[in-house]
Amino acid sequence: MASAEEVAKEAERRDIRDRWLLSAPALIIIFLAATGPLLIVVIYSFLTPGPYGDVVWKFSTDGWLSVLMQRDIFDDTLAFADAHLSIFWRSAKLSFMTTIFTLFFGFPTAYFIATRPARQREIWLFLITIPFWTNLLIRTFAIQEVIRNEGIVNTVLIKLGIISQPIQMMFTDFALMVGMTYVYLPLMVLPLYASMEKIDFRLVEAGYDLYANRFQVLRRVIIPLVKPGIIAGSILVFIPALGAYVTPRVLGGSKNMMLGNLIELQFGQGRNWPLGSALSISLMAIVMVALLFYVRSAGRQGGTHG
């Protein structure tokens, strides 16, 4: 006869086995779809580039070294090169600005929607999400159509006699900002709206009642209450903006490169897959740091409210 203790132990063992079996499909998918490819990228970053792209199975740290340094083609010495670093910096700066612009335009938009009657809100939200139905590339070309030298803006301004020469907007940071802000705006509006919708607007009235003017109510009542939405929206915009590829390619031209384009270049014309892989992992590391920041600040938020 098995003792009660043994029976309990056996049950526990079975329980653990069942749990592994039940989560196996999910684990397999996570490995095949996420961890596996990532591992390949990591391995590739330590190999030697092949002459026509691809990699040669020979260990090398050149991929990683090239992220921040350049090997002299004559004497093979390594020297610090800021070309890639400046693109990293540029990407971070542009992504940060995109976040600021989407926040600037998204906040009033979300507030407007959240203060409409419940039935109208659905219509406004629907309008916000419409751009998602169109391919990103097409949307970006539409922007190009608006701002290019023979585009709508320049044509109208010239017809009105305000300018005589078209303003060069394409292939500038301005074009890039217009495009990125337009593309990522819904990603900011939706989490902001989700936070604002939960606001009890009697709190706003209470603010007014307690002698706070409009600006003070915004700063002291509304913004603290929608802070989770601001953080979530900023992360949702900043991360994909950092890796943006299509928008800088179409609107920024070849001079205004961002990280996504740099990585693509290494896998394409550059034929330097290890460098591309190393750059990809570097990008991921930056994103991880940003996410860590988010998780920590979200955790603090939960702690203070709970």
Binding site: D200, L203, Y208, D209, N213, V221, L225, H305
Partner: protein, 380 residues
């Protein structure tokens, strides 16, 4: 403003007691509030005028949708009147935004800021007024003491109970020392026992601070026990303003008599007036003296009201006669429902004693005598 003088004549039936200028904290003059446009237009307030005295505990009483909260929101400044004036110590505040009015509100669900501590909530108004930090701190401490919440000053508002939230809401609204405090059904979310406690607490706070309280409620008992004066509202109008005693014993209209307490309504013929009282001949043929509602216009047929506790049941002949239909025991008293010979219903409330029953049984033929000072003639 032109609207004020134009509407003065529109005051209803002399219900509004004229105040000496400067003596009233809030004066509402001919205020209308219309919501919606065109066909769907609804008048939430229909030309309301009322004067609220300084240091008064004034209650707006009425069923939901009567316009009491609308009136409160107009005084607070969350909405603006469609017509009329609202004077605070003689100055028209109707066009001012809420943050420019020395009036604070205790909201129905308290509306405490969830991202601030108890102390930060209480200090918010003073901070917005630009008071120096030391003064804010001292005043917050004083307020915490006043509402007995010193121990919880550092808590988040989500970490305290409903009754405590109520106290914080009160302290927050009182901290900037408003001229008038508005309370929008502040006790409705509390359970019975806590509500009773807070009623006493509110009276104490009003007494200690000397601030004019305007209290909105649909609970007639709450209104009677707490108020200095009550305005009874229905369908956007103020029907009667008076002390709890006035409102209960001398209701002006059927709605007031019916909404507050229990009442018997009798149809009577008014046969004459003497010494400010009417002689009313009831359907039973008996004639009684009755006080007359303000604004009563002499007419042949009027409604007389008699409170159940002001009538007496007799086994002999009274002013009315009928048959006992039902007897309901209530602990402190017994309600005896009588069907009068005129087929009207009449209830008599009789104080209970320990030793004997009420002395009547279902089906008994009884008489009802109405005391000398028991009846009131309504104006409608």
């Amino acid at each position: 403003m032109g609207t004020g003088s134009a509407l003065k004549s529109g005051r209803k039936n002399g219900v509004i007691v004229p105040e000496q200028p400067g003596k009233s904290a809030i004066e509402v003059r001919g205020v209308r509030k219309v919501f919606g446009t065109g066909e769907s237009q609804v008048a939430a307030l229909d030309t309301v005028s009322v004067s609220i005295r300084e240091n008064e505990f004034f209650t707006l009483l009425g069923p939901s949708g009567c316009g009491k909260t609308t009136l409160l929101r107009l005084i607070a400044g969350f909405d603006f009147p469609s017509a009329g004036e609202i004077l605070l110590h003689g100055q028209d505040i109707a066009p001012l935004p809420p943050f420019k009015r020395p009036v604070n509100t205790v909201f129905q669900n308290y509306a405490l800021f969830p991202h601030m501590t108890v102390a930060e909530n209480i200090g918010f108004g003073l901070e917005m007024l630009g008071k120096p930090k030391a003064e804010v701190k001292a005043r917050v401490a004083e307020m915490l003491k006043l509402v007995k919440m010193e121990a919880l000053s550092g808590r988040r508002t989500s970490q305290i109970s409903g009754g405590q939230q109520q106290r914080v809401a009160l302290a927050r609204a009182l901290a900037p020392q408003p001229k008038v405090l508005l309370l929008d059904e502040p006790l409705s979310a509390l359970d019975f026992k806590l509500r009773k406690e807070m009623q006493i607490e509110l009276k104490r706070l009003q007494h200690e601070t000397g601030i004019t309280f305007i209290f909105v409620t649909h609970d007639q008992e709450e209104a009677l026990t707490m108020s200095d004066r009550i305005a009874v509202m229905s369908s956007g109008r103020i029907l009667q303003v008076g002390t709890p005693w006035d409102i209960y014993d001398k209701p002006a209209e059927r709605f007031v008599a019916d909404f507050i307490g229990e009442t018997n309504f009798l149809t009577a013929a008014i046969t004459g007036m003497a010494n400010g009282k009417a002689r009313a001949t009831l359907k039973s043929g008996a004639t009684i003296d009755a006080t007359v509602a303000e604004g009563f216009q002499p007419k042949d047929n009027a409604t007389v009201v008699v409170r159940p506790e002001h009538a007496k049941l007799t086994s002999g002949k009274g002013d009315l006669s009928g048959t006992v239909e039902n007897i309901v025991y209530f602990g402190t008293d017994t309600h005896i429902h009588v069907r009068l010979d005129s087929s009207e219903a009449f209830t008599v409330r009789q104080q209970n004693t320990r030793s004997a029953g009420c002395g009547f049984e279902r089906g008994d033929k009884v008489g009802i005598s109405i005391g000398n000072d028991a009846a009131q003639v309504l104006r409608d």
